[in-house]
């Protein structure tokens, strides 16, 4: 009579050696240990709670949100009132404010998931996230293109101090730090980019364009000289190139996010 198949090693009860090894490798935080070494207990507690990636991600998002609030209050409000700097004239100002709002929502979902567990707010956050990525890319690429090929310090700040007008802390925040923060959130976060949100990105750009038209008609100055009506037919080409650029940026980001999600979905 053939012998019944031996149960696999996995199904068998762990051997004595394994049980001993497991006991030794388990943190020995018994009551006595906690009493004798409270610092050790606190350290372990600290790492067990703080190193949860969700919590850490939430803290990072909260830090970005706090910086965005500082940016709005100090640069867009205080400096603008005092020195009449660019308020909400430029696309990068809009995209940075949007970035702050999105990170505020994200930090709430990470740190207090039970409080903010609303599907409608989650959907709004995902749409805003999809709008935020390509528009931030456009404003950043546009700024560095301008820095290299199309310097306009006088138009931007009224002073000819190239290249320093591009290297102000707020411009570097809007055209450099924003991409770092977005990249980190894309790497550590889990928010998807959905194909259906491309249209919202274009609507956002259209609303900003109407704002620039309003500025042109009321102040006579367009925030971007290349989009000025008086620049001729070139301005039409620039406008369409900007909209097409946003579309390209959206699909590039979507491709990167899809690759990330596919990698995470592997067992």
């Amino acid at each position: 009579m053939p012998r019944p198949p031996r149960p696999s090693r996995i199904a068998r009860r762990p051997s004595g050696c394994y049980r001993v090894a497991r006991r030794l490798s388990t943190p020995l935080l018994t009551r006595g240990t906690k009493k004798r070494f409270p610092f050790l207990f606190l350290t372990t507690f600290f790492f067990r709670s703080v190193l949860r990636r969700r919590f850490a991600l939430g803290l990072g998002r909260l830090a970005v949100f706090a910086f965005a609030v500082f940016f709005v209050l100090y640069h867009l409000c205080y400096e603008n009132i005092k020195h009449h700097t660019d308020g909400m004239e430029y696309l990068s100002d809009w995209t940075f404010v949007l970035l702050g709002a999105v990170f505020g929502m994200f930090s709430a979902f990470s740190l207090a998931p039970e409080t903010f567990a609303s599907e409608n707010v989650a959907d709004l956050a995902v749409v805003a996230h999809s709008v935020m990525w390509p528009t931030n890319i456009l404003s950043t690429i546009g700024a560095w293109y301008s820095f290299v090929f199309f310097p306009q310090c006088v138009a931007l700040e009224g002073v000819d101090n190239y290249p320093w007008c591009y290297l102000e802390w707020y411009r570097l925040s809007e055209h450099g730090l924003n991409m770092i923060m977005l990249g980190l959130d894309g790497y550590f976060g889990n928010v998807p980019i959905r194909r259906g949100d491309l249209g919202h990105t274009l609507v956002f750009m259209a609303v900003y364009t109407v704002w620039t038209w309003y500025l042109q008609f009321t102040t006579g100055k367009c925030p971007y000289v290349m989009f000025d009506f008086n620049a001729g037919w070139e301005s039409v080409a620039w406008f369409n190139a900007a909209m097409a650029g946003v579309v390209v940026a959206f699909f590039l980001v979507k491709k990167a996010y899809d690759a990330r999600d596919a990698k995470n979905a592997k067992p």
Binding site: R48, R52, F109, F116, S118, H200, G220
Partner: protein, 97 residues
């Protein structure tokens, strides 16, 4: 002009700039471009509205990885044996469960 200060346009400059004539053909071209892009945006939103899967609030807040928890937060050590056992009989609070 003091180079430390930002440029503030005078009222006269603002009035002059606002009242200057702009080429009508360029304005119309901008307007047509805008209408076409917005129409495409609306069409695209409508077309893909059904395909947009709802995202759960848990996913929006979650970090990458197994339930967003590092191995440091898992109470048992993660050896090859514990991983293998988890595949056979997942614990209730297991990351894979």
């Amino acid at each position: 002009m003091n180079t430390m200060d930002d440029y503030i346009p005078s009222d006269a400059e603002v009035v002059e700039g606002a009242s200057q004539k702009r080429p009508a053909a360029i304005l119309v071209a901008h307007l047509i471009s805008m209408v076409l892009w917005v129409a495409f945006a609306m069409y695209d939103i409508h077309k893909h509205a059904a395909g947009n899967r709802a995202v759960s609030p848990a996913r929006v807040g979650a970090a990458n990885g197994k339930l967003g928890v590092t191995r440091y937060a898992i109470p048992r050590p993660r050896s090859a044996m514990t991983r293998a056992r988890a595949r056979v009989s997942p614990r209730p609070n297991s990351a894979r469960a």
